[in-house]
Each structure stands twice: as structure tokens, then as C-alpha cells.
Amino acid sequence: MKVDPVLSVRGLQVSFAGAEGPVPAVRGVDLDVWPDEVLGIVGESGSGKSVTALAIAGLLAGNAQVRGSVFVDGQDVVRASPDELRRLRAERIGFIFQDPTTTLNPLMTVGRQVTEGQVAAGRLARGEAGARAAALLREVDIADPVGRAGQYPHQFSGGMRQRAVIAMAMAGRPRLIIADEPTTALDVTVQAQILSVLARRQAETGAAVILITHDLGVVAEVAHRVAVMYGGRVVETGPVRDIFRNPRHPYTAALLNSIPRLDRADSRLDPIPGQPPMPAELPSGCAFEPRCALGRGQLVCRASDPPLEPQGPAQRAACHFAGEAAAPVRAAARAAEPRPEPTAEPLLIVDDLRVHYPIRAGVLRRTVGHVRAVDGVSLSVRPGETVSLVGESGCGKTTTGRAVMGLVKTAGGRILFDGQALGGLGPAGWRKARRHMQYIFQDPYSSLNPVKPVGEVVAEPLRIHGVYEALGGARYVAGLFERVGLSPRVMERYPREFSGGQKQRIGIARALALQPRLLILDEPVAALDVSIQAQIVNLLQDLQQDLGLAYLFIAHDLSVVRHISDRVAVMYLGRIVEEGPKDAIYERPMHPYTQSLLSAVPTPDPDARRHRIVLEGEIPNPASPPTGCTFHPRCFRADERCAREAPAFVPVPGEATRAACHYPGPLAGAPAGEATSLEAAS
């Protein structure tokens, strides 16, 4: 390329002061990004991807030691004075952070925050700041930008806040934009909106973009080139197609193999064993060696850290056996084997479940209305079956799960477990029922008591129910640890000594202790690293097969759901809008919301960049849902009947699913004029 790169990083090393000497977080990273280019940096926790990004903008804390060189637009970042750094950030780098709920100052109007940096740098007159803020907000598609500029962050929805953060990053017309997990905290339909705004603004300004993410789908969708990071180094880099089609590094290949995919129906995942290394305890030699199928135990891999070397014209990989890495083609045997149709009577029946939260107002805090968090949900789960509840935040899926467990008060409907109504149970009855139903939480970090050894944590439910001795005491608990793939020798340790995946295993062991028949799994893998998710998903599937467990699986990740479910129910604003066998939902969805949702999920396949339905707007406030069909303001098929009349939830004639829609039907390609089409990154 003739043009100079906007960003050029050479031999970047970052270490943090630790109790036992410096901890290396980044160990020799080289990167180049050119104008008009999107570089995706992929990695798991501890890979050094975020630290690299902060180092590029000179934003690392004072206890970080930085070596190597970073040039942004010709300016040396590592050796810049504080004043030069400030100018650089104001004029040439735009930074977009992950969580839009915390990246904005709650006490300052959004408009002021958007332009504040430019005013402080003397590039924008104070008097013009208001107009400029509105213009910037308009450019990221915020409706009523003038009015919105004067509002505070809490008056913005999550997606709008992230738009505002993008506007802020664009305020100085930067040459380099660094986006660190910009959509991870957002719902998938909002993620699609944000990625498209980001791509459009990038194309309009010709900036260079670094997109940091753990989501291979997002990378495949928007990046031109990819750098895969592991253990503080770039282990593979190249054009996005080569990386996905022909990965040369065993880690890249294994990562691509381990993720569940929306576009395929596999029966089993190929997890990467073990867990990503902590920066403080890197193995000598190749950091991936303990987990590498190709190099594990190889002397050369243990002895020396392989350099990043060219593999073919544009690709580079850091592996002693780079040529031999397996291509990400799954073995044919992994194709879905039809699961026997469960025939038994349903174990759990939920019938017309309602959960309402009061809205209070006025001097006396009187109840003036209700939020219908769950508004007439019916479903059933049979033994050995997995039924999934999917939907975006606020759709009521978690509340449904909690209501089944008796953790929230219901306002109506029936819950039958094994033929017995749970509604009228007293505390003792609930306790008995809970022996057979267990809840597994999303966050393995906070759901384990930190001051008890994990053996005690797992034994606790046994003691509460007074069956510890009857079931076999310590021997039984040890058996539970083996069951979830942990050595019983770790029973004396405390939760903080375990990684996220191990903690989730402990959580599962505890849930299994009382030999339940139904597990309610609330986002059980959402907090885990990509390579760990597959391990837990496989464990759950094995347990189900061996123990005949029924699962009510609550998740927002549609790929994981496709992989694990037998049946899927899609929720929107407290109601199930479509329900059916997994393959029908994924292959032939009937409801426009299901169709939009599936279309919004990025697939880890750069050739599949496609037209998609980008839903307008965000989920409405559940306190005042739209009239008629609650989806109508965002629906591409809506007409005035939809605004007037709520559709019934009925089987779609001739199809396998049931849907709540006046006009159910398969999606005919990407109907022009009905759907907004978008080429992700130009």
C-alpha cells in the first residue's frame, strides 16, 4: 500500500506492577491500520487486547510500563508529553468503550459531553458547541438531536447512549477510531443498528478503525483484516476471509470450531480444553501449548515462543507447526443426529403465567398502574427435553424463570410441576418442590459463598434438606465434583481460586446435589469466555443425557440456543410471540420479530455478509406498551389492523410453529421496500 498507515505499532510491551514482580499483559505486538480499513482484534479475557487499545491511546494507568513504539498519524504516543497526548486524543483518536451505561457522566448533558473535548482543545468555540453537538448526534441517527443534546444520559436508552458515544468519538474528526467491545452490552437488534452506524460513519470519514471484540460473528461481519490475540501476543493476522477460511494457527482454528453457530445444527461442540492463561502465570514457550491439540507436549513448543511469520501472501501466524493447523471444517459425524422425540408427560407446565410489578406515583405513592413483565406465558417442558426462552433484555424471560421457581410473586396463571400445582404451596411445600427444581444463575462469581470451601458450598443444599448423610456424605459430594469434570481434590479450596468456567461447574454441581429433575438455567454461559462456553454447553448436554434432566434454558445468545434446545420460545414484551421445534424456528420462522432477531445475529462467516432486517428503534417501555400487537411500531409487516388489534397466539396453518401475528409467514428473501437493507461494512 502506498499510503502510510494511520496506526503503526512495533514491539509493544506492557507490564503492570504486581506483588511478585511485573506482570506482562502485552508481550510484543505489531499492528498496522490504514485509512478506510477496519482491523478486528479478537481475543478472550487476558489476551491483552484491551490493554493494547488503551496503550495506543496512551490511556494506561500510571502503574503500567510501556515499551516499544506506537505511532498514530506520525506522532509517537509512547514518548509523548502529557500535553501532546491530550492534543492527540482530542484531534486524532476517537475511543468507543464497551458499556454505554457507565461511559457517560450522569451529571452532564449529553450534548455537552459530546463536544466538551473539542471545546477544551480550542477547536470549537463555546458558542458553537450546542449546534455542533446536535449535528453530531444527527449524524448517528438520533431523532430530535437538538432536544436530545440537552438531556442527561439516564434519559437515553442503551442503544442511544452508544450512538452518543460514537458521536463523541467522532467529534474531533479523528483519523483513528478505537472501539473496545462496542456492542457487547447491547441487545442483538441494537447491536446491528450500532454496527451499521459505526460502519457508515467510518466510510463517510475514511477513518481507520480498530474493533476489539470476543465475538467472531461481529468480526466476520465488519472487519477487513483480523488480528487474533492470545496470551498477550498476536498469534495470527491476515485478511478476514483467510482467517476464517484457512486459519494457520491452532488457536484460531480451535476457536472457530468451538463456537456454536446460528447457521448450522451440530449436535456437539469441540471445546478447547483448559482455560486462557492468566498474564501472571504464562507457560514458557508457546502460551497456547497446554491447550493445543497439535503442539501439546512437543518439545519445541514448550521450549520457544514461536515468532509471527508470514504464511502465504497476506497471512502471518505464530506457530511452529503453522502449516498443519486444522481447517475449521467440522467432522461429518458431528452433524446433528435426530434426538428421540420425548413422549413422556410434561414435567413442568406453565399456563397463562402473569407477573405484574406496580408503578407508584404521587404524594402517597399509590399504585397507578402495572408493568406487565410477564403477560400470559404458557409453556411445557418434558423430561429429557430442553426448552429455551429467548428474547432481548426486558422481554420477561428471566422473570418467567424466577416465577417458576417461586422467587417472584405471580399475578395469575398456573404452574404445575409433575402434575402438582405450585401456586398454593406454603413455605414447606415450596422447599420440597425446590428439591426437584434447581436454578442456575448467570454470574458464577457472585452466586457462590466466598467464605466457604467449595466442597461445603456443594454440600449445603444437602444439609439444608437434611439428606447429607442419607445420600452418602463426603463420598457423594466427591462424586458430584467428578460428575461436572472437577477433581474432588479441589473441594477444600475457596471459590476465588477458581476460574469462571470452573465456578460455573461448581454451581452446576451444587444444583445437581439434590438430584433435581428440572434445571432452570438463566444465561449459564453468558459470562464465560468463548472457548469456555463450549465446555459448559457440552457438560450440560452430557448431564441431560445421563440423568434425563429437563432444562428450561433462558438466554439471549441465539447461537447457543440453537445448539442446545429441542424447542424454542421467542419472547417480546412479556409474551411469547413464536414457539416451536428448534429447527422450525431457525429455518422457517413465521413471526416478523423472530425473523428480525435471527437476521440481526452476525454469523462468523465473512462470505455470509448479507442483507438484513435492521429493526428500527428499541424495545418500548413495558410500562406503556404499544396498542394492538406490541411489536407493531418496529414491525416491517405492520398495518393499521396491527395497531388496533392484538393477535392471538395460535398454530400457523401448515407450519410447525405457533405465532402471535396477524400476518405470519416465511420471509421471502429480503423484501425490498419492507426491510431496510444494509451492507455491513462497505
Binding site: 490511556l59 457507565t102 451529571l107 459531553q113 405513592r365
Partner: protein, 315 residues
């Protein structure tokens, strides 16, 4: 907004009522008879009984309370048993002095505490931070009476800049004289409280300085000064408002030691005198007024929150 205010006040009224019942009950639970104290040791049993009846103290406690409450609601807190003067007048004489002391002490504590917190939080664990933390610890550790005496020795006895005992002069009549009179007791109170302020604000500032929005502010290229003052400090001051409210309230009636050392005519001393002479109406009156000011400060704190924090809705 108005409804929000009304609701807050409505919520606080029961607090006042319950407190007055508790105080009433407590006084009666403690042995001792005010009439006996008043009429003197040599009085006969008949004299005591007559005086008791005259004051209405022979009625059942509940009836006495009801009567008291009835007149209190009409703005009459009765007369002191001891001096026979109206309770409201006695309190009215002391109230301005007390409020003045509380206000000045709070201002001084803020002036001492905020810079210490800022300097420490900007560079945590630096030598300056350690030095300032040491100062805060010292401020918290020194007994108030001891500090008061020390200040008197220094400023009144040694340097003769300020008076040692402080009569009250209304601020509007002689502002300078007022300040001179109030300076030493206020400083005594402020030193201790500045230690609390500094510790609390430092911790809260350090939390804010590590918040995501501060990182965002730095990423836009703002000068560090602006990052700290405009972003971190404003957010750190939010939880701090409550602490300031609590401390200011504690100066009302809770500054007895300081008031005694400086013979300052505050409500705290009035209350102690009333308790030692079992002057029921005066005790009740003092406590009611002190609690009333607590409640008022509470409401003011809420108003300040509603003003500075856009997230609070007053619906």
C-alpha cells in the same frame, strides 16, 4: 417537585412524633422528681404535692403527654419549671447562636476537608496523600475538649487575638464581633469533622476517578484538571452531601462539650442544664426543636440532591 417535597416532609413527621413520645417516656423512666428539686430539700410532703398538682404533674403520663402535644401543636411549648419563662423564649435566645456555630463550623470543615481529600485522591498513596491521611487521623483522634483548650491557650491567652469565652452577638448587629466570638468553637468542631469529610470524600473521589466516564473524559483529551474538577469531583460530591447534612445536624445540640469549653450559649448546653434540673417542658422543647432542625436539614439535603442530580425524579 412540590409533591416530592410534600412527600418527604410527610414521611418525616412521624419521626418527630415517635421521637417526642420516646423522649417523654424516657424522662419518666428515670428516677427523680423535679418538684423536689425545685421546692428545696426541706419542704414538706404537702408542699411537694401542692406544687406537683399546680404543675399538672400528678396526672397520668399519657394525659400529660396529650396535653403537651395539644399545646405544642398550637405553638405553645409551655414554661420552664425552673425559671418559669416560656420554653420558646429560652430556646429562641439560644437558637441563633447555635445555627451560627453550626454554619460556620460546617464551612470551616469543608474548607479544611475538601482540599485535603482532593490532594490525596489525585495521587493516592503518594507521600502527600500519606501525610494528609495522617492529618485526618489526627483530627479524628484528638478529643474535642482538649483541642478547645489548646486553641484557647494559643489564640486567646497567648496571642490574644480572639476571646476565650463567647457571649452571643447577633450576626446582623455586629458581623465582625460575631465571627470573633464564634471562630474558636467553630474551629474546634471543624477540625474533627474535617477529618471525617476528608476521609469520606477521598474514598469517594478515588472510586469516581476509576469510573468509566472518567476514562471517557480522558480519552476525549480533556486536561486532567478538568477531568478531576468537572467530572470526578462533581460525582464524588453527591454521596458527600448526605455526610455534610449529618455533620451539620450533629452540631445542633450535639456540640455540648465545645459549648461548655467556650461557655458558648448554644442549645446543647441549655439541654444539659434542663436535664440536670429535670425541667421537663424545657427538655421536651429543646429536643423537639433539635429534631425539627434535623428534619429541616434532611429536607434541605433532599432538595440539594434533586437540584444537582438530574436522575432524581420528583414524581
Amino acid at each position: 417537585m412540590i409533591s416530592y417535597l410534600l412527600r418527604r416532609i410527610l414521611q418525616l413527621l412521624p419521626v418527630l412524633l415517635i421521637a417526642s413520645v420516646l423522649v417523654w417516656g424516657m424522662i419518666y423512666a428515670v428516677p427523680g422528681n423535679p418538684v423536689a428539686v425545685m421546692v428545696g430539700e426541706n419542704a414538706s410532703a404537702e408542699q411537694v404535692a401542692a406544687e406537683t398538682a399546680r404543675l399538672g404533674l400528678d396526672r397520668p403520663v399519657a394525659v400529660q403527654y396529650a396535653a403537651w402535644l395539644g399545646s405544642a401543636l398550637r405553638g405553645d411549648l409551655g414554661a420552664s419549671i425552673h425559671s418559669r419563662e416560656p420554653v420558646l423564649k429560652l430556646i429562641g435566645e439560644r437558637l441563633p447562636a447555635t445555627l451560627q456555630l453550626a454554619a460556620l463550623a460546617t464551612l470551616l470543615a469543608l474548607a479544611l476537608g475538601i482540599p485535603v481529600a482532593l490532594a490525596g485522591a489525585v495521587a493516592p498513596n503518594s507521600w502527600l496523600d500519606r501525610l494528609l491521611s495522617g492529618w485526618s487521623a489526627l483530627a479524628l483522634g484528638v478529643p474535642t475538649f482538649w483541642l478547645g483548650i489548646l486553641l484557647i491557650l494559643l489564640f486567646a491567652v497567648e496571642l490574644r487575638w480572639l476571646p476565650s469565652a463567647s457571649g452571643y452577638v447577633a450576626f446582623w448587629d455586629a458581623p465582625l464581633q460575631t465571627l470573633r466570638n464564634t471562630a474558636l468553637p467553630a474551629l474546634t468542631l471543624a477540625v474533627y469533622v474535617s477529618g471525617i469529610f476528608a476521609r469520606f470524600l477521598r474514598a469517594s473521589l478515588i472510586t469516581e476517578l476509576n469510573a468509566d466516564y472518567v476514562r471517557t473524559a480522558r480519552a476525549k483529551g480533556l486536561p486532567e484538571r478538568t477531568v478531576v474538577m468537572r467530572h470526578a469531583l462533581r460525582n464524588a460530591l453527591l454521596p458527600f452531601i448526605t455526610i455534610v447534612g449529618i455533620m451539620t445536624a450533629s452540631f445542633i445540640g450535639g456540640a455540648v462539650v465545645t459549648e461548655s469549653v467556650f461557655t458558648y450559649p448554644g442549645i446543647g448546653r441549655l439541654l444539659i442544664q434542663a436535664i440536670s434540673s429535670r425541667d421537663y417542658p424545657l427538655i421536651q422543647g429543646c429536643i423537639l426543636v433539635i429534631l425539627g432542625i434535623y428534619v429541616a436539614i434532611n429536607v434541605v439535603v433532599d432538595l440539594v440532591y434533586a437540584y444537582v442530580d438530574p436522575r432524581i425524579e420528583y414524581s
